[in-house]
């Protein structure tokens, strides 16, 4: 697999294939974060597309000696948070109908649908930054310090955001593990 830095260098020279490879490689994590923040599949994909285009415009500011993922996730998170702040997000397409089916029994699928509905409601209670923080931490596996750099807030704020987001989701779902700050 071609390293990110090489793809970035080719994309900076206008190579469509290289930029496409970067998009296909990172579209899932970026879309997960934008979905968590916007709570709407269409708005999420709008924000994710804006993020990739913004990244293309700013490729010269990327430091090839550092990982590409956090740099891109920073742009993606901020694009989603900005979109939520700019306008009232659409409500026409509930997120639960756009996600993948687990492909299991009807009972299990019904349970999964119930969890999705609970998650939708629980995430809606969180401020956009907390949604981004918990997704980046619990789903994408970034460290508090990395998330702090991405969101432009102190590390302690990220810890607090993750803690409060988990508490809210736990109340709604009762599927999260024991309450900790990590």
């Amino acid at each position: 697999m071609e390293p990110d830095a090489a793809l970035v260098a080719r994309a900076a020279a206008g190579d469509r294939e290289a930029f496409g490879a970067l998009v296909i490689r990172y579209q899932a994590p970026v879309r997960r974060v934008t979905r968590a923040v916007t709570g709407n599949a269409d708005d999420a994909d709008d924000a994710a597309q804006d993020a990739f285009l913004s990244a293309l415009d700013r490729l010269e500011t990327y430091d090839p000696s550092r990982p590409f993922g956090p740099w891109l996730m920073r742009i993606g998170s901020n694009a989603a948070i900005d979109l939520v702040r700019r306008r009232v997000v659409r409500t026409a397409v509930p997120l639960e109908h756009t996600v993948a089916s687990s492909g299991v029994s009807p009972a299990a699928e019904a349970e999964a649908a119930e969890i999705r509905a609970e998650l939708t409601a629980a995430l809606a209670e969180l401020p956009p930054r907390q949604r981004a923080a918990i997704t980046l931490f619990d789903v994408e596996g970034y460290a508090h310090a990395e998330i702090a750099a991405m969101l432009g807030v102190p590390e302690g704020t990220v810890r607090s955001d993750v803690f409060h987001a988990r508490r809210t989701l736990r109340k709604a779902l009762r599927v999260y593990g024991p309450e900790t700050e990590d």
Binding site: A11, A12, A13, G14, D15, R16, F19, G20, V23, I24, Q27, A28, R31, R32, V33, R35, A36, A41, D45, A48, Q49, F52, L53, L56, D57, L95, E96, T98, V99, A100, S101, S102, A112, I115, R116, L119, T120, I134, T135, F137, D138, V139, L169, L173, V175, Y176, G177
Partner: protein
């Protein structure tokens, strides 16, 4: 930590349509980058405008530095005066001194 959240947030599609949409929107920017890569660095409008002024400013600066550094030579009139004074003082004849004073030297 939570697979529920990951499964909930992961898009159902494989990302190809999304990627095509991004590439479609990025086609103009990619074309500009290709063109810039072929043409190499170009002077911006500001740089093109500023270059003659920059050269003129450097020329004036170099002239300003060069003028005071030229060796100092006394003015011609001052030199003539000092020669007359020297001649007067070295003169051995009083009549020449009187003549010189009478002539205003």
């Amino acid at each position: 930590m939570d697979e529920h959240l990951k499964r909930f947030l992961t898009p159902a599609d494989d990302g190809r349509a999304f990627t095509e949409a991004v590439l479609f929107r990025a086609s103009g920017a990619l074309a500009r980058r290709r063109q810039a890569d072929v043409e190499g660095p170009t002077w911006s409008l500001l740089e093109v405008w500023a270059r003659p002024w920059l050269i003129a400013a450097l020329l004036l600066l170099s002239i300003g530095i060069a003028i005071p550094s030229r060796p100092w030579s006394p003015p011609a009139t001052a030199s003539a005066d000092s020669t007359l004074v020297t001649d007067l003082l070295s003169s051995s004849s009083d009549s020449e001194v009187v003549l010189s004073v009478a002539l205003g030297n």
